[in-house]
Amino acid sequence: MSLALAARDVVVELGARRVLDGVSFEVARGEFAALCGPNGGGKTTFLRAALGLVPLAKGSIEVLGARPGVATAGVGYLPQTKSFSGSFPARVLDVIAAARRGVWPFHVSGPERERALEVLARVGGEHLVDSSLRGLSGGELQRVFLARALARDPALLLLDEPTAGVDGGGRVEFFELLAGIAAREDLAALLVTHNAAAVRRLADRVVYLDGTVRAWGTPNQVLDRDWERASAFSGHDHTAPVDARCEDA
């Protein structure tokens, strides 16, 4: 099986605190995996470790067959909290072109604009191309940042609670959009979410992370607390957590 991501006995320590302790799981190419777990369970830390933004104390993560931070062109990342400067004078076009270039574009060429329109079309956002980032709604920003993550035609998408701060209608719309992309394109994805409905709708597999992997199975196995089958599915001897669930958000 060709793997998009393989974590083996990953240990991450932030200061004196061990946030991830012996985390092992895999995401196959073309597979949509969801990462659930309680707040503070290490979900965001795992994604950041996979991106090379957080060092590993022990273990390894292979992302598209390489160490974290190496195969960056093949990885699309949608962060949890948009860390961008909200007052920055930028058009949507600039954001997409920057993702492709890896630096900020002071001038966007015709072909770059065409390419930006193509990638925005994949998220239904062509009409936003010349919009100022400052004037977009939360839902529109999500579309733009999803397009940004898709801009370099990644083989793996890492999505960190992409609908945090988006209203209920916007969340459903965004997850439907994501489902459409997952169905059309041969993309592997790892989605951090607390949204059980999104997990059932999108995920082939769920990893329940609480410092270590507590369960790993299909959405029904994990969400319906069928721990015996979930553990058997993963091939690991996982302990059923006392209160392991993806919250309905």
Binding site: F88, A90, R91, F106
Partner: protein
């Protein structure tokens, strides 16, 4: 009409006014370009903090026996060191940029007062008022050369690293994932800000130099839809404000630093009003 233009431009007949204008325009260009990045990063206060550090650096130079003109060569490394110190404090502690700046601001200024006091009776006499409020009309050819070189350096560096710096300013994490050396670029930006502030403090004074960095960028930010447009608007506002303020100061017979900053301030409030319409 010709008479009005002639009256406005008549100060240019004098060499010291031409030097002041050239220094102001060079400083205005560099300050506005740097300012756009500084303001976008929410570091507007740092220009003020570094200006006060400059006072400490110049006072240290005077204590070491330099003349007021040459003390700038002590103030330059002193202020760059303070800028990098502020950055390290921000990165290695949970203190915000405003707190780190506030600490260095107060300590540097107090050190400056101490250095001036320690010079003793044989020290070179210093016009503290000129130090605080600048002496733009007294810019020497040597000082003009330093201002021009620093401004050229700023423009050259920004031409070289502008796209990387802009991406890191927009979103440090995404830039880092694209291989941009975010921390090194922040150090570079702060060092360049320190250079502009030091040579500017000598020209428009410690108290007013921060305005050269912050106000044109703040006014431009209200209108610029792209980063390129914002940079152009900031430089245009800075150049217009510098030229108008300098001529106004000549005809009103007041300190040019004040009239320039007041003109820039008027631009900002005008931009604010026009933006709301």
């Amino acid at each position: 009409m010709d008479g009005v233009v002639e009256l406005l431009l008549s100060p240019l007949g004098q060499g010291f006014v031409r030097r002041a204008l050239a220094a102001g325009l060079a400083l205005g260009t560099a300050g506005a370009l740097i300012g756009v990045f500084v303001v976008q990063r929410g570091l507007g206060l740092i220009a003020d903090g570094l200006a006060h550090a400059t006072f400490g650096g110049i006072a240290l130079g005077l204590l070491l026996g330099a003349t007021p003109d040459r003390a700038i060569w002590v103030a330059l490394p002193f202020t760059v060191a303070v800028a990098l110190g502020i950055q390290q404090l921000r990165r290695r502690t949970s203190l915000g940029g405003d707190v780190a700046t506030g600490v260095f601001f107060a300590v540097s200024f107090a050190a400056g007062v101490l250095f001036l006091g320690l010079r003793g009776p044989r020290g070179v006499p210093v016009n503290v008022e000129a130090l605080l409020f600048g002496s733009m009309l007294a810019v020497s050819p040597e000082a003009l050369t330093v201002v021009a070189l620093v401004s050229l350096l700023v423009v050259a560096v920004l031409l070289r690293v502008g796209p990387q710096l802009a991406y890191a300013t927009f979103d440090a994490e995404l830039a880092r994932l694209s291989g941009v050396r975010v921390a090194a670029l922040e150090s570079l930006l702060l060092a360049l800000t320190a250079l502009v502030v030091v040579v500017g403090a000598k020209t428009v004074g410690v108290v007013l130099i921060a305005a050269f960095v912050v106000i044109p960028a703040a006014a431009a930010q209200l209108f610029g839809r792209t980063l390129g447009a914002t940079l152009v608007l900031a430089v245009a506002a800075s150049l217009a404000g510098t030229a108008f303020g300098l001529f106004a100061s000549y005809h009103l017979n007041v300190a040019p630093g004040a009239t320039i900053v007041l003109t820039l301030g008027a631009f900002f409030f005008l931009a604010l009003v026009l933006r709301r319409r």
